[in-house]
Subunit: 345 residues, 2 copies
């Protein structure tokens, strides 16, 4: 929550934070929060990682409970399968004021776990979009998430927590906050991230099995190098991500395979026109990755009464490819600056 | 052919060259040859491209025949379907001394066309590996192919022409020359380039068709941006490339789909161990893209007698993932510096 502006620079309302799981993403979150002036603690189940954090001057207590006690906000950055259990431990060691969020690549499962634990009012499912070649705290950097698209999932009961967290990641990370429902996030993430990981893994795997593997590597063109980059990531992390979102990921893969079928049919038939038309569809989407323009708008809602209108606005904004660059609570109202694609395809 | 060394710098034996088809690749070949001091002419069927070449100070006659007459070497850089006809025109307008090559992304078809035209002794199928986002002479740059892996296809009857061209692209482009038979090249290129183009096109196409297209683009992570980059290229060029190599490309696609099937099965079964093992196969190949080390060696063959040993050496070198960084004819012998992967997987 940004509660004021001084000399044109936003003042970050949250004073203290903790990061649980200080790998590549968690470590980068921690380093950026610290650079922004917050009092930050980190905790990791790996003692060697805690020692390394100590050496970097990070407060890294021996227990999770010490690390999170009394904090305004806690980022859960451990592996996906560990999140429900970690969430329960962190909730038990923090007070009702403390906002909890995660950075996992799927959202429906952890959102359901939080609701089941009665934490829907202060847990905000989150997912910053960041490419990651390396792993671990040693690869972390305060700039990794700067300017990232950052999904946060608003709910009616969690609106106050959503606003505080949206303000924090906008102010500290320069994030473009994309508000989506948890299930919709997972469908979108399947195509924007999980299916690309499957394709990269399958391409690299097929080359690994090829009798001409060495010659293929020798001729690896840009298309191959680009298309297999994420296959270089830790298999365990990718497997966790895929299994946590397997329904939407398998559905997204089927959608890609349907286009692959059409491409292969056009090739077999020697149908140049059909093949070119299919490739042109892809070019249109690809051109839109960088070519989109946005129109900004300002929206205001009452801060304390019914949140139905605010929730509907936020979810429609995200589903339409939009994002927030400001969230401010002042004089009984919440004010958003939103951006919508100017010419959706 | 490098016929001498002065002050440690190789002297390029070829004095004059022509480039037919001055698009992105052809234009980049032309600019680099000119920068290396060769007398170079260019020709393109498009008058506006010839005008633009003129404006850049390039000799660009109005007819193909004027452009290639009397040249030592001609690079055919037009679209794949045009190559057999262009080859016949260029051969008719040049003398027996002139070495011909192309830069197309498939080799078996053009090699067969050259043999059918009785040009096997002076046409050397070629393929420099270069990623290309843009298109056209305006996107060309002399550095595009610097240090590229550059396939050249040696044959018994074309050995003298192979040596001259290998020396030229090593000396002028700093190329790593990968000698492969034309059919073997096409199998390798399918996995190293053509299948990645199919996967990129299918991924981008599936997103284009998605109801949540705008949100997918908003969350496009590195994996998506990387995995669709080549889908931004001209559909006609990609279609030409895929159709010219459709047998090996479809076979390569089937190999990738087999791995995709295994990945999907492991996901459906919730089999974390199987999924991780599959992803680890891909990581091994991916790690080898940058992690390979090479051991250098020197090989010498008689320059003028039987070429069987030389041909076998060259093709084995390329199939094993190796390359040449020197080709020199001196005192009745041809001397190669070759490099083989030190620890093939």
């Amino acid at each position: 929550m940004t509660d004021g502006v001084t000399d044109g620079r936003p003042v970050v309302a949250e004073r203290t934070a903790a990061v649980v799981g200080t790998g590549l993403i968690g470590g980068s979150v921690l380093l950026r929060l610290r650079a922004a002036g917050l009092d930050v603690t980190g905790w990791d189940p790996d003692p060697a990682t805690r020692d390394y954090a100590h050496e970097q001057g990070v407060a890294a207590p021996d227990t999770l409970e010490e690390a999170v006690a009394g904090r305004d906000v806690v980022f859960l950055c451990g592996p996906l399968p560990s999140l429900p259990e970690t969430l329960a431990r962190v909730a038990g060691a923090t007070d009702e004021h403390c906002v909890l969020t995660d950075v996992g690549s799927t959202k429906a499962a952890v959102a359901a776990a939080a609701t089941a634990q009665g934490l829907g009012h202060r847990f905000v499912p989150g997912h910053p979009m960041a490419g990651a070649d390396g792993a671990g705290l040693t690869a972390a950097t305060p700039v990794l998430l700067d300017g990232a698209a950052w999904v946060l999932c608003p709910t009616g009961s969690g609106m106050a927590a959503f606003r505080r967290l949206a303000a924090l990641v906008i102010d500290v990370f320069g994030a473009r906050v994309v508000p989506l429902s948890a299930p919709e996030h997972d469908v979108v993430a399947a195509l924007s991230s999980h299916v690309p990981h499957l394709l990269a893994g399958a391409l690299a795997g097929a080359v690994q099995r090829s009798a001409l593997r060495e010659a293929v590597l020798a001729l690896a063109a840009g298309s191959f190098t680009d298309g297999t980059r994420v296959a270089g990531g830790p298999p365990e992390r990718t497997a966790n991500m895929l299994l946590a979102n397997r329904g939407p990921a398998l559905a997204g893969l089927e959608a890609v395979r349907a286009v692959l079928d059409e491409l292969a049919d056009a090739m077999r038939a020697g149908d140049r026109a059909a093949l070119t038309a299919l490739l042109d569809e892809g070019r249109t989407a690809r051109a839109a990755v960088r070519g989109r323009t946005f129109a900004a708008h300002r929206r205001e809602f009452p801060a304390v009464v019914d949140h139905a209108g605010e929730l509907a606005y936020l979810r429609e904004l995200g589903a339409a490819g939009g994002h927030l660059t400001q969230c401010r609570v002042e004089a009984g109202a919440v004010v958003y600056t939103g951006h919508l694609p100017a010419s959706p395809g």
